[in-house]
C-alpha cells in the first residue's frame, strides 16, 4: 500500500469513529426511556405517528407480540411495495413510461427492500418509475428502523430482570425514524444535492453530443447476424429524485441504487467528497450502535469490546483488498506495460477514475462489512482475491458492523456462543451481562449460526444443479458469481457480482433466502431476548468470565471466523481462490 492509501484508510477510519461515538451516545439517549432534548424539536412528529396509528406508547410487549408486530409490519409494507411495482404503469410520477415490473423481479425486489438487503436483479433507470423508486425509499427507512427495534429489544433482554416485557415495537421503530434516520437523511441529502446529485421530478434530459458517435449496431438481416453502422447525436440523461434516496440508501445500510451501477454512477456519487461522506454513512450507524449498546448496558467497556472485535475483523480485509487491487491483474499489466508487475493505477477494470483503486477497495470492504451492499466499482471485475474480500466479509455473517441493528444483534449471538464455550473453560455455567446462557439460548444461537451456511450453500447448490444459468464469466468465476449472489442475499447485503443475470429461479429462490436470512434470525433473537429478560441478574465476581478483555476479543474473533466463515472455505476454494491460482499460472506462460 502507498502512503496516500494508508493516510486515506487511517483518516477515514479515524473520522468514522470520532463521529460514531457521539452519535452512539445520542442514539442511547433516544432509547433509554427518559425524555431528551430532541423531543422538543421533533416530538410533534412522533406524537403524530402515535395518534394516527392508535398506538399507546406506554404499552409494553412480550417477545411474541413484539415479533408479531415486526413480521406484520414488514409483510404489509412488502405487499404495498409489490403492488406499486406491478401497477406502476397506471400510477403517477412515471415520466419515462416504465411498464409493470415482472412478477418474479417484483417479488425479489419487494423482499430485498423489506429485509434491508437491497439486492437488485433489475436496472433502476430502465425498470422503475419515479413513484416506484420513492416506494423503495420508504422501505429504506423502515427496514433499518426495524433492525434498530430488534436490537433494542435484545438489549432490554439483558438490562431488565425478571420481567416479560421487551418494550413497544412501534415506539422503537417510530423513534428510530423520527430522531435518527429522518434528520440524518435530510442533512445528508442536502449535501449530496450541493455536490451534484440530481433531485428532480422531471424526466430524462436529452442533450446534443459534442462529438457525434458512430457505432456498429448488431442486426439480423435475412437470418444472419451482422452489424450496421449507426450515428448517435443525442445523449439521453436519466434523472430523478436521486439525492433523497441516496442519503437513506447509504445511512440505512440499504444499498439499493437509484441507477443500475449504483454509487459508481456519477449522479449517485459525483465527487471524492461525496464518496468519503457516503463511505462514512455506510458504517456510521452500525459503528455508533456499538457505543449505544455500551451506554445502554451501563458498561462502555462492553461496547468497546464489540467494536474492537468488529474492527479487527474488518481492517485486515481492507488491507487485503487494496493490496490485491493495487497489484492488479498481471495479465492486463503485461499487455499495458509489458511487465506483469503492478502498474501505477492498479486494476481499473470496472472502476471510476475519480475513485481509483483505493476508494473502490475501501468501499467494497465497507459495503460488505456492513450489510449496505452498494458499490462504487464493479466487484465482478475485481481481481479474484480482491473479490474474495467482500465475499468473505459477508460470509462472516454480516457481523463486522453489519446491518443497522442486525449486525450488532448478530454479533451478540456470536458473543453468546463465545461466552458459552469460554465460560465452560473457566468452569461456570456461562453468563453474559449477568444473564445465564442456558439450553434455550443455545438453541436460538444454533438456529442463528445454522441459517446462513444452510441457505447460502443449499441455494448455490440448487443453482449449479440447475446448470448455473445466467452466468456471464466462464470457469471458476462463473461459480463465484452464483456463490456471491446467494451469500449476498442470505446475509441481507445486496451487493453483487453483477454479471449474473436474474433468472426466475434466482429471483424466487433469492427472495426466499433473503426473507429467511432476515426473519429466520430476527425471530430467534427476539425469542432469546424474551428468555433472557425473565432471568435474574447475576452479580459479577472474579469467578465471572470477563467479557471486555483483549483475550475475549481475540477468542470472539476466532469463533466468528471458525464457526461463521470456515464452512465456506471449500466453496471459496472452488471460486476465487482457484481463480487467483489460475491467474498466476497463466502469467507463467
Amino acid at each position: 500500500m502507498t502512503t496516500n492509501q494508508w493516510i486515506q484508510l487511517i483518516v477515514c477510519l479515524g473520522v468514522l469513529v470520532a463521529l460514531a461515538i457521539p452519535l452512539g451516545l445520542y442514539i442511547a439517549k433516544v432509547f433509554n426511556g427518559t425524555s431528551f432534548w430532541g423531543e422538543k424539536w421533533l416530538g410533534w412528529l412522533e406524537r403524530f405517528f402515535y395518534r394516527l396509528g392508535g398506538i399507546n406508547p406506554q404499552e409494553e410487549m412480550d417477545w411474541k407480540t413484539y415479533a408479531l408486530a415486526m413480521v406484520l409490519f414488514s409483510f404489509i409494507g412488502g405487499i404495498l411495495l409489490y403492488l406499486q411495482m406491478r401497477l406502476q404503469a397506471f400510477l403517477p410520477l412515471n415520466p419515462d413510461h416504465q411498464l409493470a415490473v415482472p412478477r418474479a423481479v417484483s417479488f425479489n425486489t419487494m423482499v430485498s427492500f423489506v429485509t434491508n438487503t437491497n439486492f437488485q436483479f433489475y436496472s433502476g433507470e430502465t425498470t422503475l418509475s419515479y413513484l416506484s423508486q420513492m416506494a423503495l425509499t420508504v422501505q429504506n427507512f423502515i427496514s433499518p428502523a426495524v433492525g434498530i427495534a430488534i436490537l433494542m429489544a435484545l438489549i432490554r433482554g439483558f438490562v431488565r430482570k425478571e420481567s416479560k416485557h421487551l418494550g413497544n415495537f412501534w415506539v422503537d421503530v417510530i423513534r428510530s425514524l423520527v430522531y435518527i434516520l429522518l434528520p440524518l437523511s435530510v442533512i445528508f441529502s442536502g449535501i449530496l444535492i450541493w455536490q451534484g446529485c440530481p433531485q428532480t421530478f422531471r424526466g430524462s434530459q436529452k442533450v446534443q453530443l459534442v462529438s457525434p458517435l458512430i457505432y456498429n449496431q448488431p442486426v439480423t438481416v435475412q437470418g444472419r447476424n451482422t452489424t450496421q453502422p449507426m450515428t448517435i447525436i443525442h445523449q439521453s440523461i436519466a434523472l430523478g429524485p436521486v439525492a433523497s434516496q441516496e442519503a437513506i440508501k447509504m445511512l440505512g445500510t440499504n444499498g439499493g441504487g437509484y441507477f443500475n451501477t449504483n454509487s459508481a454512477h456519477p449522479f449517485e456519487n459525483p465527487t471524492p467528497l461525496t464518496d468519503l461522506l457516503e463511505l462514512l454513512a455506510i458504517l456510521i450507524i452500525p459503528v455508533a450502535l456499538c457505543f449505544t449498546f455500551g451506554s445502554l448496558v451501563n458498561d462502555m467497556r462492553q461496547g468497546w469490546t464489540v467494536f474492537a472485535a468488529m474492527f479487527i475483523l474488518l481492517v485486515p480485509m481492507i488491507y487485503c483488498c487494496i493490496h490485491f487491487e493495487q497489484v492488479g491483474n498481471p495479465l492486463l499489466n503485461r499487455i499495458v506495460t509489458g511487465s506483469t508487475k503492478q502498474n501505477p493505477e492498479g486494476n481499473m477494470v470496472g472502476k471510476e477514475v475519480r475513485f481509483g483503486v483505493t476508494d473502490s477497495s475501501l468501499w467494497a470492504s465497507f459495503t460488505t462489512a456492513s450489510s449496505n451492499g452498494s458499490v462504487n466499482a464493479m466487484l465482478d471485475s475485481f481481481t479474484p482475491m480482491g473479490g474474495l474480500v467482500p465475499m468473505w466479509l459477508m460470509m462472516l455473517g454480516e457481523v463486522s458492523f453489519g446491518g443497522i441493528g442486525s449486525g450488532l444483534y448478530g454479533m451478540i449471538v456470536f458473543i453468546i456462543l463465545t461466552v458459552f464455550i469460554a465460560g465452560l473453560m473457566v468452569g461456570r455455567t456461562p453468563e453474559y451481562l449477568g444473564k445465564k446462557i442456558q439450553a434455550f439460548e443455545m438453541k436460538m444461537t444454533s438456529i442463528v449460526i445454522l441459517i446462513p451456511p444452510l441457505l447460502v450453500l443449499m441455494t448455490t447448490a440448487i443453482s449449479v444443479i440447475c446448470g448455473g444459468q445466467g452466468v456471464l464469466n466462464p470457469g471458476a468465476h462463473g461459480f463465484s458469481e452464483i456463490l456471491y449472489a446467494f451469500t449476498s442475499m442470505t446475509n441481507n447485503n445486496g451487493s453483487a457480482f453483477a454479471g449474473l443475470s436474474g433468472t426466475t429461479l434466482y429471483n424466487l429462490m433469492g427472495g426466499i433466502a433473503m426473507w429467511m436470512g432476515r426473519f429466520g434470525i430476527a425471530i430467534p433473537v427476539l425469542a432469546m431476548a424474551g428468555s433472557l429478560v425473565q432471568k435474574k441478574n447475576i452479580p459479577e465476581s472474579t469467578g465471572t468470565l470477563p467479557t471486555h478483555t483483549p483475550l475475549f476479543v481475540f477468542i470472539l474473533v476466532a469463533i466468528v471466523i471458525i464457526v461463521g466463515a470456515l464452512a465456506f472455505i471449500p466453496a471459496l476454494a472452488l471460486g476465487p481462490i482457484v481463480e487467483q491460482l489460475k491467474m498466476i499460472a497463466m502469467t507463467m506462460h
Binding site: I7, Q8, G53, L68, A69, I76, G77, A135, V138, L177, V186, I193, W194, G196, P198, T200, R202, Q205, Q208, V210, S211, L213, Q217, I237, A238, L239, P241, I248, T261, A264, P266, T271, P272, L273, L276, G328, L331, L332, V336, T337, N343, P344, E345, G346, G350, K351, E352, V353, F355, D359, S360, M378, D380, S381, L472, N473, P474, H477, F497, G499
Partner: protein
C-alpha cells in the same frame, strides 16, 4: 393472540400508509423543493449549455473517438457506449478471455492513434469504467494523448499540456480520491482554444 394479531395488523396497515406519505412523498418532495430552490443547477443534473443548447452534463461522460478530441474511457453501456439512460460496467472477470482480448484491441488502437508515444499506456484508457459513464480520465491518460491532439489541432504541445494542467482536479484536501481530468470540459476548452487560435489567424 388472535386479539393481538388484529390490533397489530391494524397498526401495521395504518403505519405503512403513513410511512409512504411521509417518507415516500413528503420527504423527497421537500428535498426536491429545497434542491430546486438552493441548488437548481446540481438538482437538475449539472447540465452544460453552449449557446443556449444543452450539450451534456458535467458529471456524465460522453464518447469521444475522433482523433481531434481527448478520448474518454471505454464504456460498456448498451447498446452504444456512454448511454446515459442505461449505466453499466462490463462485469468481465479478471481472467475472462474476452477482457484480455478487449484490452489488447484497445491497446493496438491507441498505439496506432498515438504513434509517437512509447511509454506505458495508462490503465484507465483501455479498461471500461464501472458506470460506463465515467466523465474523467487520469492526468496520465490525458498526457498520453497530448502529442496527438497538438498534432491534429496544430497546437503546440505545451499549450495542450497547459490546458490539461488547468483542467486537472487534484485529490480532495490532497488526500481523498484520485487526480482526474473531466474529458467533456477539457474537450470544450480545447475547442475554445482552437477557435481563438483560428480567429487570431
Amino acid at each position: 393472540m388472535m386479539k393481538q394479531f388484529r390490533i397489530q395488523l391494524k397498526i401495521s396497515i395504518i403505519l405503512a400508509v403513513i410511512s409512504i406519505i411521509v417518507f415516500g412523498l413528503i420527504y423527497p418532495g421537500i428535498m426536491t423543493l429545497v434542491g430546486q430552490l438552493i441548488f437548481p443547477y446540481q438538482a437538475n443534473g449539472s447540465i452544460i449549455r453552449l449557446h443556449g443548447k444543452k450539450i451534456g452534463s458535467a458529471l456524465i461522460g460522453q464518447s469521444f473517438t475522433q482523433p481531434d478530441y481527448f478520448w474518454s474511457r471505454p464504456s460498456a453501456t448498451t447498446p452504444f457506449p456512454y448511454n446515459a439512460s442505461n449505466s453499466s460496467g462490463s462485469n468481465l472477470g479478471p481472467i475472462n478471455p474476452d477482457l484480455i482480448r478487449h484490452v489488447q484491441l484497445r491497446v493496438e488502437v491507441l498505439k496506432k492513434a498515438n504513434p509517437n508515444q512509447k511509454g506505458p499506456i495508462p490503465m484507465d484508457l483501455v479498461t471500461s469504467s464501472a458506470s460506463g459513464l465515467d466523465p474523467d480520465i487520469s492526468p496520465a491518460a490525458a498526457q498520453y494523448q497530448a502529442a496527438r491532439i497538438a498534432h491534429v489541432r496544430h497546437l503546440s504541445i505545451s499549450a495542450v499540456q497547459q490546458l490539461i494542467q488547468k483542467y486537472t482536479q487534484g485529490r480532495w484536501l490532497g488526500i481523498f480520491g484520485e487526480p482526474r481530468v473531466n474529458v467533456l470540459e477539457l474537450n470544450l476548452a480545447l475547442n475554445q482554444l482552437s477557435n481563438t487560435k483560428n480567429f487570431k489567424k
